[in-house]
Amino acid sequence: MSEKDLQSVTDRLLQRAAPGRAEFEDIVVVPVLAVLVAIILGGLIMLATGVSPANIGKAFVALFNGSFGSLNAVSETLTAAAPLTLAGLGIAIAFRAGLFNIGAEGQVIVGGVAAVVVGFSFAGMPPIIHVPLALLAGAVAGAFWASIAGWLRAATGAHEVIITIMLNLIAMRLLDYLLRNPPIQKEGRADPISKNVLPSAELPHLFDWLDPLMRVHAGIFVVMLAVIFIWWLLFRSTIGFEFRAAGLNPEAARYAGMRSGLIIVLVMALAGALAGLAGANQVLGVLGRVSPNFSGGVGFDAIAVALLGRSHPVGVLLAGLLFGALQAGGRQMQVDAGVSLDVIAIIQALIIIFIAAPMLMRGVFSFAFAKQSKR
């Protein structure tokens, strides 16, 4: 081939095809339909459980009002979305590397505890140091906790799903123990509760000058930074390239000279750091202290968030916002229409089922999809 021909072929190959219809369907149509269908089915379930049609209507209005209907509602949505997104990122990055990190819940717990310890210590430290230090403590603790699973997986081949489940249970019991003993238990209390985070370690509320009830706090900046950082890491760095290669084809990664053991430990540490940050975020921004079940299952909901977000940082952010909205709106629903909060859990579960079964969506809503060309 002559130099000129070679150049022209090269130029042609460098052209990127416009994003195809299939991609659009995968990224947009399927999730949107999944959410819509889940909400409709949620309505049917309410009907089946004896909620009157009028009340169901009220419930959906409340669901919207409680999530996006007012500034305060948006604030609640963002507050709920923050830990879900952070922990969701941690699960997503593990997915990308081919690891199933069920352990976010435990990592959230140890992260929260570490943040609270730093948060109630160091009286007199300026907030500009105290807040980052407490966040860092949460991240490091989460990273350490998850690395145990990563290290066991890399060194012995023990499956990370089982180890992270075990680590979850250990973290929960550890929390119970710590909350009943000094130095973490609050002085003079018999019930399991920790000391309060010092004001200098609190993530400041952003709009309390507007309305003291607005709980949204500086943690959302941490979330934004995390989303951007993880996106950069996955798609713009050599480390992310290794993660993705190892996740899609571990044999090929090995062939290419990547060190799979190191990748596993690194990914788990990073996933744990993000989940730990989620715990710290809750403790420093919302709760101010640690109590049993303070994590509220964030680490498990985050699995759904990562799945719905297709393990893409931006997708995880959007999914986190949706789940945050469902939580915030669900509380309003309970108050206004007397519908149980469990309906929200059902809707969330339905969303995941539909996301996990895209062929079902394609079959039922064939009009929304282009004809399958191959297979």
Partner: protein, 520 residues
């Protein structure tokens, strides 16, 4: 189910011989036309050779015939009567049987058990009559001289015999038309000869046979009539002996093809790679490579022949840093590289084309550009520190894809969407577009079409002519013979024979015997 047995009986009494007509068959998958207006006749007592490159539509056509696919247009006529198959079951009942490239046998079952599987002779209360089954299998076995022991366990049988079990299975279901999909790919040269005998005997017994292949010499050897498929269409017909290889290849590829690999003069330099007493274990700690020693000089192609599973895979892995060498040493250019990592070897200028390209040579879901950087991503110019330089990666990939004839519309496409030949060219492009000193290529052209094989062979020879040391591991004897300056034969983990070009040109038969373990 007693019916099949009765049919078998009836067949044996009055052998019916089927004539099959495929008329204007068109099969589309979405926008892709796999078969377009194909006419084909298959007659009893004749072997039809169906020749075509990968992706020419051979398998699709045969899947239409055997009921796996329904054609969009066209008809299938059996003895002049139009039939419609709604599944493979219909085709089998009509007497059409397929012998797949990958055997579908239960390894822990006996031959008889495998043969009757799904159509077992039963007595009252669904009693499984194995005695009857064995008798039936033995009858067919004797009738066609297949020489298979009905009581042998499949896992104990060599591949060639396993293939006969597949044939038995089809015959047991009273097939009159037998379709063989690339039947020789897994056989040793001796087994191939045996296989030809069986095929001819089936023909003489009045069966109609379709022999799918992309290998020209096979078609000459065994077919009575040849049809060539290209781009889903029948592009020509021929007769063995009358139609030349050149004509057939041109029909198949659509342009003139050169068969002989043009090699420069053999001017070997200093010894590059030296393997001494190397032993390598399998995952289950059995010995795969047993105390092997050999060397490769600069500018030399060493071909390692052998039937698959005789330690070549582990040898390849050990030489590429993917498997531990248990004992012995490997030296490269005088330096000890025993158990060096894959990356260290890559840095030294090793190019490695792995045996199973999709399994380990590439990431199917990665774009072509990402795959082209799969093992060079960590260094300049593709990354700076830990920051990937995607612009450089893409530009280099596009240039290499163009230079190595990787046919695609864009380097953003997932590598998994490329055809096998283009995937392999992509891997070759990645491995050989750098400054290399050594090339280790395992099964470099397995399953590829004539055009891609020609191109890849040219590249391998070019590396050798530039002074690289080259090892080719292949179970394809023709490839070994065409490329190698020196041939080593592996059997049960040992090198059992060495044939040096120039000293004595080995015959195919000699190498074949060594591959089967019979060392002269």
């Amino acid at each position: 189910m007693a019916a099949p047995f009765q049919e078998v009986q009836s067949v044996r009494q009055g052998a019916r011989s089927l004539d099959i007509e495929l008329r204007a068959i068109t099969k589309r998958f979405g926008d892709l036309v796999a078969n377009s207006n194909v006419n084909l006749s298959i007659r009893g007592g004749e072997i039809l050779g169906l020749l075509g490159e990968n992706g020419a539509g051979k398998s699709t056509l045969m899947n239409v015939l055997s009921g796996f696919y329904r054609p969009n247009e066209g008809q299938i006529l059996i003895d002049g009567k139009q039939v419609q198959f709604s599944g493979p079951g219909d085709a089998i009942r009509a007497g059409i049987g397929m012998v797949h490239q990958h055997f579908m046998l239960v390894p822990v079952f006996t031959v008889a058990e495998n043969v009757v599987l799904g159509v077992e002779p039963t007595g009252p209360v669904d009693y499984l009559d194995m005695k009857k089954a064995r008798e039936q299998v033995r009858t067919i076995n004797d009738e066609y001289g297949l020489e298979v022991d009905p009581d042998a366990l499949i896992e104990d049988l060599p591949v060639g015999i396993q293939q006969r079990v597949e044939i038995l299975k089809v015959l047991f279901r009273s097939a009159e038309v037998l379709v063989f999909d690339e039947p020789t790919a897994v056989l040793t040269p001796q087994e191939v000869t045996e296989f030809y005998k069986i095929v001819r005997m089936l023909r003489d017994a009045g069966k109609a046979l379709v022999f799918i292949t992309h290998k020209l010499h096979e078609i000459h050897e065994v077919a009575d009539r040849i049809s060539v498929l290209r781009g889903g269409k029948i592009v020509g017909e021929g007769f063995p002996g009358k139609t030349s290889d050149k004509e057939l290849a041109e029909m198949m590829v659509g342009r003139p093809v050169t068969f002989n690999v043009a090699k420069g003069d053999f001017k070997p330099g200093a010894t590059l790679l030296e393997v001494k007493n190397m032993t390598v274990l399998r995952d289950d700690d059995s010995v795969a490579v047993d105390d092997v020693s050999f060397s490769v000089r600069s500018g030399e192609i060493v071909g390692i022949a052998g039937v698959q599973g005789n330690g070549q895979t582990q040898l390849e892995e050990a030489l590429s840093g993917l498997r531990r060498v248990t004992s012995g040493t490997v030296k490269f250019d005088g330096a000890d590289i025993t158990n060096s990592s894959a990356r260290a070897l890559h840095r030294m200028g090793f190019a490695h084309v792995p045996e199973d390209r999709q399994h380990s040579g590439m990431v199917s879901d990665f774009s072509i550009a990402e795959n082209m950087a799969l093992n060079t991503y960590y260094a300049e110019p593709f990354s700076h520190g830990i920051v990937m330089d995607w612009k450089t990666v893409r530009e280099t990939s596009a240039r290499n894809a163009a230079a190595f004839d990787v046919r695609t519309s864009s380097i953003y496409k997932p590598a998994g969407e490329l055809s096998g030949g283009n995937q392999q060219k992509m891997i070759i492009a990645r491995e050989m577009s750098r400054n290399t000193r050594f090339l280790l290529a395992s099964q470099p052209t397995r399953g590829l079409d004539v055009g891609s094989i020609e191109y890849i062979h040219k590249r391998i020879v070019a590396a050798r002519d530039e002074g690289d040391g080259v090892i080719i591991i292949s179970s394809e004897l023709d490839e070994i013979l065409a490329l190698s300056d020196r041939i080593l034969v592996m059997f049960k983990g040992r090198i059992v024979a060495e044939f040096a070009d120039g000293v004595r040109q080995p015959s195919k038969n000699e190498i074949g015997l060594a591959m089967a373990g019979a060392v002269a």
